[in-house]
Symmetry: C2
Amino acid sequence: MRLTVLGSTALDSIETPFGNRKEILGGSATYASVSASFFTPVNLMSVVGSDFPARYLSMFDKRGIDTSSLEIKKGKTFRWKAKYNYDMSVATTLSTKLGVFDGYMPEVPDSLSSSCNLLLANIDPDLQNHVLKKLKPAGLVACDTMNLWIDLKKRSLLKLLKKVDLLLLNDAEARQLSGEEGLFAAAKWISSKGVKMVVIKKGEHGALFFSKKLGFIVPAYLLEVIKDPTGAGDTFAGAMMGYLSRCRKINDRNLRRGLVYGTIMSSFAVERFSADGLIKTTPKDIRDRYSHFEKLTRF
Amino acid sequence: MRLTVLGSTALDSIETPFGNRKEILGGSATYASVSASFFTPVNLMSVVGSDFPARYLSMFDKRGIDTSSLEIKKGKTFRWKAKYNYDMSVATTLSTKLGVFDGYMPEVPDSLSSSCNLLLANIDPDLQNHVLKKLKPAGLVACDTMNLWIDLKKRSLLKLLKKVDLLLLNDAEARQLSGEEGLFAAAKWISSKGVKMVVIKKGEHGALFFSKKLGFIVPAYLLEVIKDPTGAGDTFAGAMMGYLSRCRKINDRNLRRGLVYGTIMSSFAVERFSADGLIKTTPKDIRDRYSHFEKLTRF
């Protein structure tokens, strides 16, 4: 099934202990789309400014990502500047310039096919609600979020949770959203808000899958070097939803494999700056790492 | 094969967000022995004072733990007082009273059978070196350590590493010992000091096994409540070495299962204060949790 991805497309300036990059391709929809495109046809729904480099558009094209719902608006592309210390689990935002995201409301033409799965990648929950309502997707609906929206738009986020099948968020966000310290209790609280399945991402410590009760624990793929953790969570969500879109059935086996592909793809993403870790990856690299991960975890 | 366990036996006073306990049974050799005793006959080598409660001695007896090398010296049992906050990964030591451990040098009579595996649980590396030299065990030798000994007795610890097969330590200790931030690099550094296998324990995030290269990644068994994390690492080491002592061969398959038993047993240990989580566990509980963990992790 086709996967529609709503989220941000950005130009990031990132500093980590392993280097500095200025105005590189970023954004939740970018990471999620590129990651998902290894598994299924993707429709990217986002907005960029007229300053958005054409080479990135042609990269999307080359990867078979449909950009007909990527609006190009007069003005500046969304820019995010951030810094990571040696503990790369938390980014310090140095500046955020909304640019064309200021006042953006995605167009969802009636002609757009609703026979798709939908990934509402991290973005303002008002936009997530809007697209979900207009598109009425026939398939699986997943969403991601971040601390900012839990702070500023919790009501809108809770409204969304009633209507999505799967929420992906990290451990700190799960604690913040639920007010619960323990991840079991946090997942239970979140499930009580109407969402059927919850993935709690723990960064370098793996991920947990809950469907009413705890269903699956997956460790992370240990890396020698992490150059830039930006987009790891978006990549995870994109891979999981991309893989599930390729599957005939959403069953326990495929959900588990979806989480493993999330793990594998995010391990590629963080090995380089921007989405380069994904772009330079081949289907064979993915198969090899998946099979290595199987060997590393079986007992 | 029989397992000899050297380590501390203590009376702990512990405060966690879930309660306070005074003068409860503790010590690295206690947790490791009780944990190992589910898998193999154990010989406990340690020292206690004349104030050590007889009920603990009879608990060791009931569990089939041979206490003929547990010296009872005139004086006070080693006491440790500590506090945990909500982040239970680090204990704050409030006081340490060595008692009979001051000047303790384990007796290793020539008559003692060397046809055993040996677990040098966390204790002064001078004592670990002494026992290893005197006992000359025929089987597998493992050791554990802590930040204190890395600070105070690094030379003695490095001398020990040349002679042991397996080192178990936590992630912070691996970083401290090696001076390396990345766990891959830390394990490589440690391996270069002569030890053949390294287990890096990551507490609630699982454990990693290295034998020259990364061999196995195991997540932790997620718990709803952790009441007292004291002894989790000692329990892990005891279970792993206990399980391996029951196996005919030390091969890849059994090493992986040993780590899983370490994971399972430490999950029981932290559910109650002191060694009560272990003592109240039955072989059926262990089988059930092992099988639940298999279900939670396979894909």
